[in-house]
């Protein structure tokens, strides 16, 4: 190994990032070359020097506590992209490690309540006169469980059940009274719709109008799809931001700038956008991405994701452009699958 080659490898050698054979070669050269050994020593000292004398970058515990509180305050006010929260009971008893604590807390709370309010724990259930609704509830319970010993629920449970049933009934009545079919555009679109292909791994390109002119529906896009696979993208179609009023292209640029870090493909529209314009933006984006895929299975997968969006578009604005493009994509899948 010559000195020039050795110097190129000194940095990864210092970091322990060379493969075994390269490391051995560098070590062999260093053993015989004073100049390169001094170079390595200088590099090592440089790292220590920079670490020791660089500006301090830790503002201290109080700052980090404040950061924690600000972050938690912000995320607690955000919509969560998750299923609904589990009930308090399942939350308390969800992990082995917390069952004891959860059980203890619940038991203590019940004990405290019992002592405070003197609930009749010792009283026979026969002492309790259930209401007619409670009897119905108990009868249902018995029927469902096929239990010979019909157990009358505690008064508190009856009350809650009745109350919940009543509330549900009220809600159903309310919904039936006030339900009117909404106009199609309200169902389909939101004021600032954004097609969000989260984590779609570095796909570049013009997302808005004009994308259609760049579309090459045939093959290509191998790199795009490999990145998509690497990111294991979950493709979504959702509204993320309500933007101030601006031109759709500006809105798209603004959102892409904001979301550049997440490498999302975005199309945006605003209140002032015409329905046709919204349709064109979104359809162009979706078509653009689908047409750049290579594997028909990927296109098929994309269709499964995007079909609801297209259906909403078609429902809202008529199916002129969206329908034609969807048909074209389906043709691509069918045609290429048949090959």
């Amino acid at each position: 190994m010559k000195c020039a080659e050795c110097r190129d490898l000194l940095s990864p050698y210092l970091d322990g990032e060379l493969k075994d054979d390269e490391r051995a070669r560098v070590a062999q050269h260093l053993a015989a070359c004073d100049a390169c050994r001094h170079e390595l020593a200088a590099l090592r000292r440089l790292g220590e020097f920079v670490r020791n004398h660089a500006p301090e970058a830790d503002p201290g515990d109080s700052y980090h506590r404040a950061l924690f509180q600000r972050v938690m305050a912000r995320i607690e006010s955000l919509p969560v992209h998750t299923p609904a929260k589990p009930s308090i009971v399942s939350w308390l008893f969800s992990r082995w490690s917390v069952r004891l604590a959860g059980g203890l807390a619940v038991a203590t709370a019940i004990l405290l309540l019992a002592l405070r309010f003197g609930l009749p724990f010792g009283a026979s259930t026969a002492d309790v006169a259930p209401s007619d609704k409670a009897q119905n509830f108990a009868a249902e319970k018995t029927t469902v469980t096929s239990d010979d010993k019909a157990v009358v629920p505690q008064p508190g449970i009856q009350t809650q059940t009745t109350s919940l049933s009543a509330q549900a009934e009220q809600l159903r009545t309310l919904a039936a009274t006030h339900h009117t079919p909404r106009a199609a555009p309200q169902i389909a679109m939101v004021p600032a719709p954004v097609a969000d292909l989260s984590g779609a791994g570095g796909i570049a390109g013009n997302a808005a109008e004009g994308a259609a002119s760049q579309v090459k529906p045939a093959r290509g896009g191998m790199e795009t799809m490999s990145r998509l696979h690497a990111a294991r993208a979950e493709i979504e179609f959702q509204k993320l931001f309500v933007l101030p009023e601006m031109e759709p292209d500006s809105a798209t640029r603004s959102l892409r700038e904001r979301e550049m870090l997440l490498r999302r493909e975005i199309a945006a529209s605003t209140d002032s956008s015409s329905n046709l314009r919204r349709e064109r933006d979104l359809a162009a984006l979706l078509y653009h991405l689908a047409a750049r895929t290579k594997d028909p299975r990927d296109i098929n997968r994309a269709l499964l994701f995007w079909r609801p969006a297209y259906d909403r578009l078609a429902l809202a604005f008529g199916d002129s452009l969206a329908r034609a493009r969807m048909t074209h994509l389906e043709h691509l899948v069918l045609g290429e699958s048949g090959e």
């Binding site: 440089l46 790292g47 004398h53 500006p55 972050v71 870090l261």
Partner: protein, 218 residues
């Protein structure tokens, strides 16, 4: 009896609740992410506690301002939370989070450049710039000069090199992790880091030489 039960029971309940709240701190990242996605928002706090210092540190090295680094760190955690459902749990959480923070930091830097409002805010919150009571004034000056020289050398690193240098030297990430954060090949990390070191070394040659000399004298 009721008073006794309150005195005994309440501490038990409170202890249990505190334990429930803190129980995530010892769990692996992937478990915490799963819990958050299951709706347990409070579990996310463990990730903020775990990585807050590192994320702030990386941001601070890149944006060179406490206020900007604060914004970047806070925004990074919020964005990560918002996008948690897209996170691939087979991969490390920190590199994913760090990528978000670094991109925010780079955007912040670009905005600063565009608006030409880059300031020397670094000094404001840096205890090294605070006068130390009883310290030798000449040593104080020398320390400030060294710190400024390093700060300048880092600031003058070309884009791409600075991030690699910061992640390796200050955050101690491996080449593979840096490649993951920056979404570049490992070979690119290797070459950028070697060039960054050379760059910094040249810039620091006078200070580095004198400091090293004084160290040896000491």
């Amino acid at each position: 009896m009721a008073v006794l039960s309150v005195h005994v029971g309440l501490p038990i309940v409170l202890t249990a609740l505190v334990w429930l709240r803190r129980r995530w701190d010892d769990r692996p990242d992937q478990d915490i992410v799963g819990a958050v996605l299951d709706g347990r928002v409070e579990a996310y706090g463990a990730l903020v506690r775990r990585y807050g210092r590192r994320i702030y540190g990386v941001a601070r090295r890149v944006v060179r301002s406490h206020d900007d680094a604060d914004d970047v760190a806070q925004e990074a955690f919020v964005r990560a939370y918002q996008s948690l459902h897209t996170f691939d749990r087979s991969r490390p959480f920190y590199t994913w989070l760090c990528r978000i923070a670094l991109n925010l930091a780079i955007n912040c830097q670009e905005k600063r450049r565009r608006h030409a409002t880059d300031s020397l805010d670094e000094r404001r919150h840096d205890p090294r710039y605070e006068p130390v009571a009883g310290a030798d004034p000449s040593e104080q000056v020398e320390r400030e000069e060294l710190t400024s020289a390093i700060q300048m050398a880092l600031a003058e690193l070309p884009d791409g090199m600075r991030e690699v240098f910061v992640l390796r030297v200050f955050d101690d990430l491996s080449y593979d992790q840096i490649a993951d954060v920056l979404d570049v090949p490992r070979g690119t990390v290797m070459s950028r880091l070697a060039r960054a070191r050379e760059h910094v070394r040249k810039k620091l040659a006078p200070s580095f030489g004198s400091a090293h000399g004084s160290d040896r004298r000491a």
